[in-house]
Symmetry: C2
Subunit: 188 residues, 2 copies
């Protein structure tokens, strides 16, 4: 998981690894698109999953429609793309598959700082722990990432994340699942 | 289903009915909040489901958080509240339950005019057809409403809706379900 540093540093890290990991995920931001777009495009060729927000997806692709943007960005390298939409949840793209994860509707957002990093941490650590990079498992990872982000914004800094218990995390994941679960029987 | 007319007209319609229907749903907009708020508040006391968008929910309640807004609005009368969020889907509130329906990520929005009305039509006709006003069935109605709205925006006016087949509708509903379906096994 490459944190949001200069694309050149990210690329150097990859090149110095003796063995390429099974999966390389990466965060980046508008700043690098503004000042180091060519480097960023080179680094994108080396990775599997890109995690960015909706504005960044639009800037990087030059397309407003996130469906079109996702195709253009995945043509740059990463086979998987996660687009974070803040209070509107997140989208995961792979091939023709799209997964839409809800955000937990909150009473109050105390401090949104770090939500994106918490998402990335929850996402990649779930994949690392389960050692399964299938699309189905990546959907679960998006839910775990969303759950960690929802904790992050409840207090300042890392206050809410420090000392979180497994039970609290599982309860939150359960809330996410029930939030978008619907049982429809189709006749055709 | 009371369309978006003056709250006084909506109220008159209700009062003239010999028998109160099992369920009364209603649409309204910022315009009536601006010029006829007192009438609107009176009408809200008479209905079961209010269908509005996120900006209108914030204006009507004076709260930015949709969770808080939903509580304030439901204290005004309607036990159920649907908040439409355009390209970000819709939320359904009842008691302590929240359902979050995704929007279909689209290649292109040809013309968004009528999306909200298509949503309301799909929502209420699903409830009328199934004659079941439980929360679980209302979640399904939100999905059907979302599906109809997603068709509406694909062409001008009612062009795409006229002549829609059952198979097309069911295929679209299936897309909505697969969009947010995730299978997580929790250990605790």
């Amino acid at each position: 998981m490459l944190g949001n540093l200069s694309p050149q540093v990210q690329s150097t890290v990859i090149n110095r690894l003796e063995n390429r990991p099974k999966l390389i995920a990466m965060d980046t931001m508008n700043f690098w698109m503004d000042i180091a777009l060519d480097d960023l495009k080179e680094t994108l060729k080396q990775i599997d999953v890109l995690i960015i927000n909706d504005e960044e997806a639009r800037q990087l692709s030059g397309e407003y429609s996130l469906v079109r943007a996702s195709r253009i960005i995945r043509d740059m390298g990463p086979k998987y793309l996660v687009i974070k939409k803040g209070e509107h949840g997140a989208l995961l793209f792979h091939g023709d598959n799209i997964f839409s994860a809800p955000a937990l509707p909150l009473e109050e957002v105390f401090d949104p700082t770090g939500a994106g990093d918490s998402f990335a941490g929850g996402f990649i650590s779930y994949l690392a722990k389960t050692d399964d990079t299938s699309f189905d498992n990546m959907k679960r990872a998006v839910i775990y990432g969303s759950a960690m982000a929802s904790f992050c914004v409840e207090k300042f800094g890392t206050e809410r994340l420090v000392g979180l218990t497994d039970v609290e995390i599982q309860d939150r994941v359960r809330q996410f699942i029930s939030l978008s679960s619907v049982d429809i029987r189709l006749t055709q």
